[in-house]
C-alpha cells in the first residue's frame, strides 16, 4: 500500500458533530487490502488492531495498525468507506479483531469502540 501517512495537520474533530449516531455504528467483516506480510504473519486470531485514519494531502486512507503503530493493511473496496471516513473525522473510533491471518492475507471484524 502506498501513500498516506499520519499528518500533523489532520483536521481536528468538529465539536458540533456528535460522536454518537446510528450511521457511525458500523460493524463489518472484511479482508484487509495491501497486507504487509511481516506484520500479518505475526498476528493471531483474537488480536486487536486499531483502525486509523491516515492523511496525505487530500487523500485519506483507513488502515489497521498494531499497538506498535505498524500498519497491517488497508480498509478499502467496500460500500460505506466514505461514511466510515466521515465518522472517524467526526470523532468516532473503531477497532478490528483479527479473525484469520497469514503472510498473504488478514481478515478482521471491525466495530466501533466509542460512542
Amino acid at each position: 500500500m502506498s501513500g498516506p501517512k499520519p499528518d500533523k495537520n489532520s483536521p481536528a474533530r468538529d465539536p458540533r458533530r456528535p460522536v454518537g449516531g446510528g450511521d457511525c455504528d458500523q460493524r463489518f467483516r472484511i479482508d484487509l487490502m495491501g497486507v504487509r506480510s511481516a506484520q500479518a504473519a505475526r498476528l493471531r486470531p483474537g488480536d486487536l488492531l486499531q483502525v486509523v485514519l491516515l492523511y496525505d494531502g487530500d487523500l485519506r486512507a483507513v488502515v489497521c495498525q498494531t499497538d506498535r503503530a505498524e500498519t497491517v493493511g488497508a480498509l478499502s473496496a467496500f460500500p460505506g468507506l466514505s461514511q466510515l471516513i466521515e465518522c472517524m473525522e467526526g470523532g468516532a473510533t473503531y477497532s478490528a479483531i483479527v479473525e484469520r491471518s497469514s503472510p498473504q492475507a488478514c481478515g478482521v471484524f471491525v466495530s466501533r469502540s466509542n460512542g
Binding site: 500500500m1 502506498s2 479482508d31 495491501g34 486512507a61 483507513v62 478499502s76 466514505s82 498473504q104 492475507a105
Partner: protein, 400 residues
C-alpha cells in the same frame, strides 16, 4: 494499462464477504502493485462513486473514469460456487436517464487495454495490445484499431464449447481477428490457442477456493504479463493461472509481483475423477447440502457416487457393495462432519483403500471434528473449499 469493467456490490454468505468489486474494480486492484499506472473505466451508482474513488486512490491508482448509473447493482452468492442473484433483477431495471443508451458507445484508447463487458454501454477499444473477456454478449465490446488481440473465454460462460474447444477457437478467433484465445476451465487452468498452436495451461492448487472473481484475476494478470510486459503468451498464461489460484486461496489484493508469489503445486484440470459423497441424507437440510454438492460437481463435470445411490435416503437399494463402489472412486467428500454411521463406515473403508478424504466442518468447535483428527483427512471450513479440495485430490488420483 486501462481496465474497462463494471463496479458492483458483491456479497457472499459462506464465507461471509461484502465488497465493492465487479470485474473492473477487482482487476484494477489486482494490478495496483505490478502496474500502478492502471486506470479504471467503469459505471457506478452515485451512492458508491466516492467509495470507489477513495478505494482506487488508497491503493495508489489514478482517479477512475466513472460514468453514473441509476441503480445500485449487487450480486449475491450463497457460496462461491453458487449462481449469483442480481439485485435489481435485469427486467426490473428502470429506464434510466442517468445511463446512456447502449448505442452510445464508450471509446477507450491506450497502449494496453483489458476490457470486460459493461452492462450499460458498448465499448470500442483501440490499443497496441488488447485483452477482451468474452461473454455471451460479446458484441458489446468492439474492435477499434488494435495491434494484437487476445480473447479469454470461461467454461462457465460457454459450457457447450467445453465439449469441443478446438471448434470454438476455430470459429471465434477469425470472427474477432484475434491472435490468441484462452479457454479457461472451471476447475483452473485452460487451453491457449496461439495461431495454429495449442497449449495446456496448468491449474495450481489452492488451500481454499474463493472462486468469485478468479477469472477477473486471470484476465488482469495475463493482460499485464502479455500485454504490458510482452511476455511469451504461454508463460503469461501460466503466471495468470498461478495468480488466479493465489487469489482463490487468499482473497488477497493486490496480486504480488511474480517473484513474491508462493510456490504452488500443479494439477491436471482435465483429469477424470469420481468423488464419493458421504453424508447423512434423511432430513431436508441434509438432502439440500447433498444436492448442492451434486450440482456443483456436475458443473465441474465430475462424476459422483452419492448417498442416494447407496439407498441412504430411506429408499432402499439392493446389492450395493460400498467397498466395490469406493474402488471406483478417486476421493471422498464428507459432508455434515460425517455425522451418521454409514458415513463413518464409508470413511473407514476409504482409509483402508488410501483414498484422499476431505471433511467439511464449518464449525471448528464442533466436537465431531475430533473424530477425524489423526486420520490424514483434510478439514475444509467452507463448502466451496471442501468441494474444490476433494476435486483436486481426485484429479491427482484418477479413478481406478
Amino acid at each position: 494499462m486501462i481496465v474497462v469493467g463494471g463496479t458492483y456490490i458483491e456479497e457472499c454468505d459462506w464465507p461471509e464477504w461484502t465488497r465493492l468489486m465487479g470485474p473492473g474494480v477487482r482487476a484494477a486492484l489486482a494490478l495496483s502493485e505490478v502496474s500502478p499506472q492502471t486506470e479504471l473505466y467503469s459505471y457506478a451508482n452515485d451512492a458508491v462513486i466516492e467509495d470507489l474513488r477513495r478505494t482506487m486512490l488508497t491503493n495508489g491508482l489514478a482517479t477512475p473514469q466513472v460514468r453514473t448509473r441509476g441503480e445500485k447493482v449487487a450480486y449475491s452468492y450463497k457460496h462461491p460456487l453458487s449462481y449469483p442473484r442480481r439485485t435489481p433483477k435485469l427486467e426490473e431495471t428502470p429506464d434510466d436517464s442517468a445511463a446512456p443508451q447502449l448505442s452510445e458507445s464508450w471509446s477507450v484508447k491506450g497502449d494496453t487495454v483489458l476490457a470486460f463487458r459493461l452492462q450499460e454501454t458498448k465499448i470500442v477499444v483501440s490499443a497496441k495490445r488488447a485483452v477482451f473477456e468474452l461473454s455471451q454478449q460479446d458484441e458489446e465490446i468492439e474492435r477499434g484499431d488494435i495491434g494484437k488481440l487476445a480473447l479469454i473465454a470461461a467454461e462457465n460462460d460457454f459450457p457447450q464449447a467445453a465439449a469441443n474447444v478446438q471448434d470454438f477457437a476455430a470459429q471465434t478467433m477469425p470472427a474477432h481477428n484475434a491472435n490468441l484465445l484462452i479457454f479457461r476451465w472451471q476447475s483452473g487452468g485452460g487451453i491457449l490457442f496461439d495461431g495454429e498452436m495449442e497449449h495446456s495451461i496448468p491449474a495450481y492448487v489452492a488451500n481454499e477456493w474463493f472462486k468469485i472473481g478468479t477469472g477477473n484475476i486471470f484476465c488482469a494478470m495475463f493482460a499485464h504479463y502479455w500485454g504490458e510486459q510482452n511476455m511469451d503468451a504461454m508463460a503469461a498464461a501460466d503466471l495468470a493461472s498461478r495468480c488466479s489460484a493465489y487469489y482463490a486461496g487468499s482473497r488477497a489484493l493486490p496480486i504480488p509481483v511474480s517473484q513474491n508469489l508462493p510456490d504452488m503445486e500443479k494439477f491436471d484440470p482435465t483429469a477424470d475423477c469420481k468423488i464419493f459423497i458421504a453424508s447423512p441424507c434423511i432430513s431436508m437440510a441434509q438432502q439440500w447440502l447433498v444436492d448442492e454438492a451434486i450440482r456443483t460437481f456436475e458443473m465441474l463435470r465430475i462424476q459422483t457416487v452419492t448417498p442416494y445411490d447407496l439407498g441412504l435416503d430411506g429408499v432402499s437399494r439392493k446389492n450395493v457393495d460400498v467397498g466395490r463402489v469406493l474402488d471406483g472412486c478417486s476421493a471422498v467428500l464428507v459432508l455434515a462432519e460425517g455425522a451418521d454411521l454409514p458415513s463413518v463406515l464409508a470413511v473407514g473403508l476409504a482409509l483402508v483403500r488410501k483414498l484422499p478424504i476431505v471433511v467439511l466442518a464449518e464449525e471448528s468447535r464442533e466436537p465431531r471434528v475430533s473424530l477425524w483428527q489423526g486420520t490424514d483427512c483434510e478439514i475444509a471450513r467452507d463448502f466451496a473449499s471442501a468441494v474444490y479440495r476433494a476435486m483436486v485430490a481426485g484429479k491427482r488420483r484418477p479413478a481406478g
